[in-house]
């Protein structure tokens, strides 16, 4: 490292660690590696669901309800040929194949996780930037956010679900709304602190236009904390979806998610535990993986918070 260039370099030294070193550190972190692998596996399962020996997850069959794992059923196709299908994880109270539902459930549950996290962060980012930058609006926005935050998340989600008829979109909205104020707070505090930095003040003095200022100086600082925040939002989204299903106001059972497979099976837990067991394992593993990923990311991207 030579001293010469540093003297000449402008004071806009961006956050130190170069991206490549960061990636290396991430991959080497065992927590991130395990979490990432599990998550990747679940994503693959979700994506390739139709080719993993599944049936239509919504096809009901009243004559073979509540069968234990391993039950074999002969399926007659329209052309008269018969095949034997083994219900690896049994069937539910409508005779649907639990294995197929769990595999397809990966799709929906992950979709919920990803969409909730990204939309909550996108909306939160915009509001947070506005609140942090446009001083006159700050007070109003933050009081509103305080109000939103004061309503316990689950209750808020319940109330939002009852707003619309229950469906995929309304459940996603219901989970997003309570997350927004948390994102806004993070973004706003970053904006406020970055504004005080000498290099940003210098840029403002130099007449840098707002969009450029945002993209150049403010946004990059929000990326790391928001990625971390995003993983935790994703993990909690999967859980909240399950809880809404449990309370009977989640995604309609036509669309399989781990949450509503479990919610449906809970009444028969004592007789047919497989309805809760298998989706439960998948759900817990995934949430665990996302949480591990989040922890690892935070330790690596945000060393100040390491260990928390």
């Amino acid at each position: 490292m030579s001293t010469e260039p540093t003297l000449l370099a402008p004071a806009v030294a961006e956050p130190a660690t170069p991206a490549r070193t960061m990636m290396k550190r991430l991959v080497r972190n065992p927590v991130v590696a395990i979490g990432g692998t599990v998550l990747l596996l679940m994503t693959m399962i979700g994506l390739f669901a139709p080719w993993l020996g599944t049936l239509d997850p919504t096809a009901i069959n009243p004559s073979t309800r509540n069968r234990l794992p391993g039950f074999e059923r002969t399926i007659r196709a329209d052309d008269g040929t018969a095949t034997v299908f083994k219900h690896r994880m049994g069937t539910d109270s409508l005779g649907r194949d639990v294995y197929s539902r769990v595999v397809y459930g990966a799709r929906v549950s992950l979709l919920i996780a990803v969409s909730v996290a990204s939309i909550a962060i996108a909306i939160g980012l915009v509001i947070g930037l506005v609140a942090g930058y446009v001083r006159p609006l700050d007070g109003v926005i933050m009081r509103f956010m305080d109000g939103l935050m004061a309503i316990p998340g689950i209750l808020l989600a319940i109330a939002v679900v009852s707003l619309f008829r229950s469906g995929l979109v309304s459940v996603i909205i219901a989970i997003i709304v309570p997350e927004i104020p948390r994102v806004v707070r993070v973004v706003r505090s970053i904006v406020l602190s970055v504004r005080e930095e000498p290099y940003v003040e210098a840029a403002i003095m130099a007449g840098t236009r707002l969009p450029k200022l945002m993209v150049r100086h403010i946004l990059p600082n929000t990326i790391a904390p928001l990625i971390v925040q995003g993983t935790f939002i994703a993990a909690s989204a999967i859980l909240v979806e399950a809880i809404l299903s449990f309370l009977g106001i989640g995604i309609p059972p036509e669309i399989p998610t781990w949450g509503n497979i479990m919610a449906e099976g809970r009444n028969l837990f004592r007789v047919f535990p497989h309805n809760i067991l298998y989706p439960g394992i998948f759900l817990a593993l995934t949430v665990l993986a996302v949480n591990m990923l989040g922890d690892g990311l935070r330790d690596t991207l945000d060393p100040k918070m390491a260990g928390r």
């Binding site: 998340g153 209750l155 109330a159 309370l247 817990a284 665990l288």
Partner: protein, 313 residues
């Protein structure tokens, strides 16, 4: 100081007003029609319209809001559409189970989580640390109701140590009260233990690296004394914070736990009210929960300013 407290108290008012407006608007925009729910299967359109009129649901939203807000200011929460009882009375009848559950949960969580967290910090990097951290991540990853059913299956059905469900008021005898409270409280405390243990570990770790602890060590003070006298004391602030944050978590958990164990508390009142579109009750309960949340966080803030001179006011 007094001025600060007063200012903080006043600052909660707009928050609660916003909550009230939000909740009110949200519910009045829902497609559900409480009148139809109340009327039942045989009712015809005319009868439903009559009920709607009696409940005041056919008036403009603004009028409905003003009536409600006016009554609220006079301390009148209104009357439940369904239970036909004053909501204040309903809530009072439901407070004991929920408070008992919340206190028992906190008690279990704190008495388990703080020693665990301190231990993990002290044995930083050891297998004990890893197990505690592993558990705390796991605790966040399993839905409350699954934990509940698993505990019921093992401890109530298979072993028969505890009743399967129900609640007995404290006035009905201490042993019955405790017997019915243990399983729900343990169920609910899992996520809390995870949260607090994590936070305790982190803050104790941070403090252990501070200079004065090193000095104390250098002076040859007993390790246990260092841990409990210095480290934990200084780690108290972040731990208290996490308890405050956890209140929201606890409220969400109460709703589910009370449903699993059929505990007649505020959580079940909320779910029942939502499913029945009992607007005045939902409004009152959400407002109450939000008030509790805001109140507890206010107390925590005030506690900081009392105990931590670094915080300016």
């Amino acid at each position: 100081m007094l001025g600060y407290i007063l200012r903080r108290l006043l600052a909660t008012i707009p928050v609660l007003v916003i909550v009230a407006v939000l909740v009110f608007l949200m519910l009045r925009l829902t497609p559900g029609d409480p009148a139809a729910v109340i009327a039942g299967d045989n009712a015809n359109t005319e009868q439903i319209a009559l009920i709607r009129n009696r409940l005041g649901l056919d008036q403009p939203i603004l009028t409905q809001f003003l009536i409600w807000a006016g009554n609220l200011l006079r301390g009148d929460l209104g009357e439940s559409f369904f239970f036909k009882k004053p909501i204040g009375e309903l809530i009072i009848g439901r407070i004991e189970p929920t408070l008992s559950l919340a206190f028992a949960t906190m008690l279990i969580a704190i008495s388990v989580a703080i020693p665990l967290g301190v231990l993990a910090a002290y044995k930083h990097g050891s297998w004990i640390d890893r197990i505690v951290m592993g558990f705390s991540v796991l605790g966040f990853s399993v839905p409350v109701f699954v934990i509940g059913y698993a505990l019921i299956y093992v401890f109530a059905i298979t072993l028969g140590w505890f009743p399967v469900q129900g609640y007995q008021p404290l006035s009905g005898g201490l042993s019955g009260f405790l017997q019915r409270l243990v399983l729900p409280a343990v169920t609910l405390s899992v996520i809390y233990i995870a949260l607090i243990a994590r936070m305790t570990r982190a803050s104790v770790l941070e403090v252990l690296n501070e200079d004065y602890i090193r000095t104390a060590r250098a002076k040859g003070q007993v390790e246990r004394k260092i841990l409990f006298r210095h480290a934990l004391k200084n780690a108290a602030v972040p731990i208290v914070t996490v308890v405050g944050i956890g209140i929201a978590l606890l409220i969400g958990g109460v709703v589910v736990t009370e449903s699993v164990y059929s505990i007649p508390g505020l959580g079940r009142l909320t779910v029942d009210a939502v499913l029945a579109r009992d607007y005045p009750t939902i409004q009152a309960v959400i407002l109450l929960f939000s008030g509790v949340y805001v109140g507890i966080n206010l107390l925590i803030d005030l506690a900081y300013s009392l105990f931590d001179p670094r915080i300016r006011y």
